[in-house]
């Protein structure tokens, strides 16, 4: 379980997030929705301790983690799939995954499960990450995060710039992870994806939570999404 309590942060003197609180439960997909510049990526970075908190607390499974250094967060159970993939471009597919495996101490059996999810990656094991197609890079970014054996997955616009078949794969993987009782925090701009896989939607507006809606009410009035998505 990922618990955010009253988080405020920003860059330099510019505050970006204002008193943000919400929870991602195990087996739940929470979508973070907001316009460009609303602070979604900043939220992810703050959760991963890549940005110091000005106020508030992040708890993972009830344990406060905001006093931990950034490199300890992954081991607490957060798997991060950042916006724009941010792979270790000059390393091979295998080496990218090895970095993830160092967090969990996982071995060949864990790798085998992940390759079962993404057979294409196994074929490309020894290829450098920068030579992969966009879709394959997204697979690798996802696989790298799964290698850390997370309890909660953070995905920042995973379908950005992908072709439809790849977007479908991203959705399928998220659905599977939810079925394995993983919590998922997903930043997503596509209405159809949000409506088909979210359990709850948190709307972020200028760094503040504007409202939270469960998916049933949203499906009844999907036009409510539009106000938060316009570019």
């Amino acid at each position: 379980m990922l618990d955010l309590r009253g988080i405020s942060t920003g860059y330099g003197k510019a505050q970006v997030l204002f008193d943000v609180s919400f929870t991602v439960n195990p087996g739940e997909v929470v979508c973070l929705v907001g316009r460009n510049g609303a602070g979604k990526t900043t939220m992810m970075r703050a959760i991963m301790a890549l940005l110091p908190l000005w106020q508030g607390e992040v708890e993972i499974g009830g344990k406060p983690v905001s006093s931990l250094p950034a490199h300890c967060i992954a081991a607490e159970g957060l798997g991060y799939i950042p916006q724009g993939r941010r792979l270790f471009t000059e390393l091979t597919v295998q080496q990218n995954l090895d970095i993830g495996l160092m967090v969990s101490g996982g071995g060949e059996d864990m790798l085998a499960r992940i390759f079962a999810l993404f057979p294409r990656l196994e074929e490309r094991r020894l290829q450098r990450a920068e030579t992969l197609s966009g879709g394959e890079q997204q697979m690798l970014a996802t696989a790298r995060a799964l290698c850390t054996n997370p309890s909660t997955l953070l995905l920042d616009e995973p379908s950005e710039g992908l072709q439809p078949s790849m977007i479908a794969l991203v959705r399928e993987v998220i659905t599977r992870m939810r079925a394995e009782n993983m919590g998922v925090l997903l930043v997503e701009q596509r209405v159809d994806t949000i409506l088909s896989i979210a359990d709850r939607v948190v709307f972020l507006e200028n760094g503040r939570i504007a409202e939270t809606a469960d998916i049933a009410t949203l499906r009844a009035k999907p036009e409510r999404l539009n106000g938060y998505l316009g570019v």
């Binding site: 991060y80 970095i99 160092m102």
Partner: protein, 307 residues
């Protein structure tokens, strides 16, 4: 002597310069590549390696070979530990900010230099080579049928050949470390994306301390190798620093293979031009080459354009 043997002799001297330069510059390149820190004190770590080598050889060496082997092991470790400490106490606290680290390492340069002057003194001190047989080099002659001649003055010493072999071995070891080991993988991941490295559990600050120590240790190792030929002196860090910068810029910032290639290029041409013309001309040409690289290929021979 004819031109041929002369050229061979000059290349040999150049190869020694290249070996020492490659080790030193690779240390600088590693630190810049992984940490984005321009370490102005790098030459002082070279100097400290030579000075530490003198202390170890003097106080531990009952026999030159024992003293030398002890220096080869102890000096780089000492210097590396000192550098890692400096990183932890100074660079980490200023958050590896590019401008402030330059100022901080300039400060470090003077502290190390003056500290050495106060303890080691202003004199140049020799360290005995562990072995130093003179080796004459044969030269083929075709006058009156093929036979080998032994031109007077064409020769080297076993120790000089050892320097070249040692440098090649160490560079190979470094290549294995960077490309075949877990710690190498961690260093490369940190170099490629510091934030993502942290998000995937890599303790970046500790990696930085290690890299800074390793970079300094390589400079120190180079100095231990050269000090039997060159003597230890508290001001000896200037030239290696300048030449390392030249090599790192030509090779491509942060590219280890590029650095090695550029070191060989600069070292060999330095040796050859020094013998046939003058050492000053060699330095002028090297500096000119840097200017040309900066104008026409700013990313260096093997460097990547930084976005």
């Amino acid at each position: 002597m004819d031109l041929g043997p002369y050229l061979l002799l000059a290349s040999l001297e150049g190869a020694i310069t290249a070996s020492i330069l490659a080790l030193t510059a690779v240390g600088l390149s590693l630190v810049f590549g992984v940490m984005r820190v321009v370490n102005v004190a790098h030459g002082e770590f070279f100097m400290l390696g030579a000075v530490a080598s003198w202390f170890v050889a003097t106080y531990l060496g009952t026999h030159p070979a024992i003293g030398f082997i002890a220096a080869l092991l102890i000096a780089p470790l000492l210097v590396g530990a000192l550098a890692a400490t400096a990183d932890w106490l100074v660079l980490r606290r200023i958050n590896y900010d590019p401008e402030r680290t330059i100022v901080a390492t300039i400060g470090l340069l003077y502290i190390l230099q003056q500290g050495t002057l106060m303890t080691f003194g202003p004199d140049a001190r020799p360290v005995e080579p562990p072995f130093n047989q003179r080796l004459a080099i044969p030269w083929p002659s075709f006058e009156g049928g093929f036979h080998l001649t032994w031109p007077w003055g064409l020769g080297t010493t076993s120790y000089k050949l050892f320097i070249i072999a040692a440098a090649i071995t160490i560079l190979f070891g470094l290549w294995v470390l960077m490309s075949r080991t877990k710690i190498g993988l961690i260093m490369r991941a940190t170099q490629l994306d510091r934030d993502m490295a942290q998000a995937f559990g890599i303790p970046v600050e500790r990696v930085y301390a290690l890299v800074f120590g390793l970079g300094a240790g390589l400079a120190a190792l180079a100095a231990v190798l050269i000090v039997p030929v060159q003597q230890a002196h508290y001001l000896m860090g200037g030239d290696p620093l300048l030449l390392s910068f030249i090599v790192v810029i030509i090779g491509g910032l942060g590219s280890l293979p590029g650095t090695v290639i550029a070191a060989v290029l600069i070292g060999l041409s330095d040796g050859i031009i020094s013998v046939f013309f003058s050492p000053t001309l060699a330095k002028i040409l090297a500096t000119l080459l840097v200017a040309l690289v900066l104008v026409f290929r700013p990313q260096g021979l093997l460097g990547k354009r930084i976005a």
